[in-house]
Amino acid sequence: MKELFTMLTDPRFHLVSNVRERFGQGPEPTYVRLNREGFSIDAGIKKKTLVHPYMHLATHPFAGKGDLFAPMYGEITDITERSVFVRHMEPTEEMKAACEAEPMTDILACEERGEALVPVLKAMGLNTKSLGQECETLIVNCQNPDPGVTWAEPMLLTHTRTLAAGLTMLRRLSRAQRIILAVPEELKIKVHDFEVVPVPSRYPASVNALVVKAVTGRERPDGIGIVGLHNVWSLGHVAMTRKPLIETVITIGSLSFTGNYIVRDGSTVGELLKFARVTLSAGDTIVRGGPLRGESVDKQDRSITKGATGLFLVEKGSVAPMIGHSPCVSCGSCVAICPARLRPDMLSRYAEFGLHKRCLEQYISSCLECGLCGYVCIARRPVLQYIRLAKAKLGISVLKTEGLYAQEEATTTGEARS
């Protein structure tokens, strides 16, 4: 009924985009900004150090978090609490030789299995936190995470060798008895000996909790883990290149343009948009991550990191602007659309007036943070932001602690921020 009565008429909410092209190679960055929050920088790495691709820069104390590598030839211009800045320079012969000398590791040939594989992958720059979850069944979420993002189908249908390598590694790493690929129902695919389950493909169907429900028929069941296709692709990419991960796949999109690129870790949003020939004007909004769940950035020199799923330009005037304090007019649209069956109108009101405790009575921790409440709000209230505020005040970090949401955390909060 919901579909019939207009809520999500935008065709972009259909997550199958029919994009099949191979990923384009992104630009050679002239300047990168690498996220180093929590990392300890290697001895000898400091300002003015010359770096080359795949050069080891820093290590994170957490076992599940991959090491940091330089993504290109250049010189470190600054190291701050949060970032390492590198400016491109033409490589000298020495630098080229050093790059050549970086070891190759064929992770597919490794003997290790399960836990023992974690340090190997960490040393290749891979995050394993969400990959090696303790669960009986591991679901691979093969949907484009947000409307507008289009890399999932090429990953499934075009870059099949990378996918196969990634899945092989995943099977070795995970202790799950079953690994299930949750694939949009329109795509009839077979992947070796993996179990494929068709799932609905209209947003919010790609939200992890809803994928789990589509596959198992249950809401928040125990013993089920879920991992994003993006992570599996990274695993496969490392297996294929035999080099540490210094790249990521993102969709770059605007109103009239969309394309998928393999871009270097730390590339700045300004350079990426320019490369994709997306013209920026004053008053536009640059969105890192998906258009529904991402975050806006203030400057063109903010960067894309390994977990990012997309980079979007929302042209000024293409959506009604949010204007300051806008009271709820109780239109009920958000309640009608909420996939978690909550009352976003009440949640956002309580948060607005600082009544965070009352949000608990309204089951705030069931919120899937899909963002649809804000999408349909006719008063243009930042409903999701209010909910996140209340969650933060209440100390509920559903998206951070549960394995279910690990991917979302990586893309929307932790990693993407630098």
């Binding site: 350079e271 536009d284 258009p291 806006s296 400057k299 063109q300 109780s330 009352r343 930042p382």
Partner: protein
């Protein structure tokens, strides 16, 4: 670094960055568009006096909103056109021959006590136009009775016919006449055909919820159909009740006002049914011939209780 930071300023905001495009103002426009067919029919059936009442009511509603926002030092909200919608809806509940002072008092009371004092659009627990209607109805019952006010008309009031002249006479009234608004009722409420067209439009635009509309229509139809099929003496068909008084106007345009209704599906159906059944009770046993506005006033006061009927949130066991 300077090469990468140029002077363009970007807009920062909160996710989501896409939006469905609907705004309060566009919703009002949809509502006005939906009321237009009934307005045209009212002009045909009642002539210029109908236009006079509607125009006056709209002007008063808009002025009250402007003045209240100014006095209360709130952001001006009049440009969302919701006051215009209220003005039209309120006028639709009045007889076409209503005197000017009646319109002014009613519209002003509606806006003041039915909206602005609660804090503006969406904060009122009872319907704005109905507040104005109720105040007038208890203060000036004679002036609010279309049957009394519309003496010069050739039409007849089907509900009065049914009540005072009996079923046999009422059965002679054709449904087509009712649909075309050839009946004595409030100036907009009687334009059944136009209201149905507009109401269905609102349904498909997602402005109103089908659960409420269906609930209310079923709430009226089912008990009357029940009585109709069981009664030993002759009774009027249930559709007669649907197309008379202000049932259609209320079901599509007033009961569906989202802030007075509950929000979850089942609760909305129950609320709609309650509205409908109250209409049945008032018409069968009460002294008012219509009853629909009162039914909604009462049902909307129960909304906090309907709201307790809610589905389990995601993953809650």
């Amino acid at each position: 670094m300077s090469a990468h930071t140029n002077s363009l300023l970007f807009a920062m905001s909160a996710p989501p960055y896409w939006h469905c495009g609907r705004t309060v103002c566009k919703r009002s426009m949809d509502q006005l568009l939906a009321l237009a067919p009934a307005m045209v029919m009212a002009l045909i059936n009642w002539g210029l006096p109908a236009l006079r009442v509607v125009a006056l009511s709209v002007v008063v509603c808009v002025l009250v909103e402007v003045v209240c926002c100014a006095i209360m030092h709130r952001r001006q909200t009049v440009h969302d056109f919701s006051a215009v919608v209220t003005g039209v809806l309120f006028a639709f509940l009045l007889p076409a021959a209503a005197p000017w002072w009646l319109v002014v008092i009613g519209a002003a009371c509606a806006m003041l006590f039915g909206k602005m004092l609660f804090g503006g659009l969406g904060d009122n627990p009872v319907s704005t136009p109905l507040i104005g209607w109720a105040i007038l109805f208890v203060s000036f019952p004679l002036f609010m009775d279309p049957n009394v006010m519309q003496l010069a008309s050739d039409y007849e009031d089907p509900l009065a016919v049914l009540k005072y002249l009996g079923v046999a006479r009422a059965q002679e009234i054709s449904l087509v006449d009712l649909l075309l608004g050839r009946q004595i009722a409030a100036l907009g409420a009687g334009q059944i055909g136009g209201l149905l067209v507009g109401g269905v439009y609102l349904l498909f635009r997602g402005v109103i919820r089908w659960q409420i509309v269906l609930g209310m229509l079923a709430g009226v139809l089912i008990p009357f159909a029940f009585v109709h099929s069981l009664a030993e003496t002759a009774t009027i068909t249930p559709t007669f009740h649907l197309f008379t008084g202000s049932v259609v106007l209320c079901a599509f345009f007033i009961a569906t006002e989202s802030n007075i209704a509950p929000t979850h599906s089942l609760a909305m159906i129950l609320y709609g049914l309650t509205c409908g059944i109250l209409v049945f009770l008032i018409r069968s046993y009460g002294s008012y011939t219509d009853g629909a506005p009162f039914a909604i006033l009462v049902a909307s006061l129960l909304t906090p209780y309907f709201d307790l009927v809610r589905p389990k949130p995601f993953g809650v066991r």
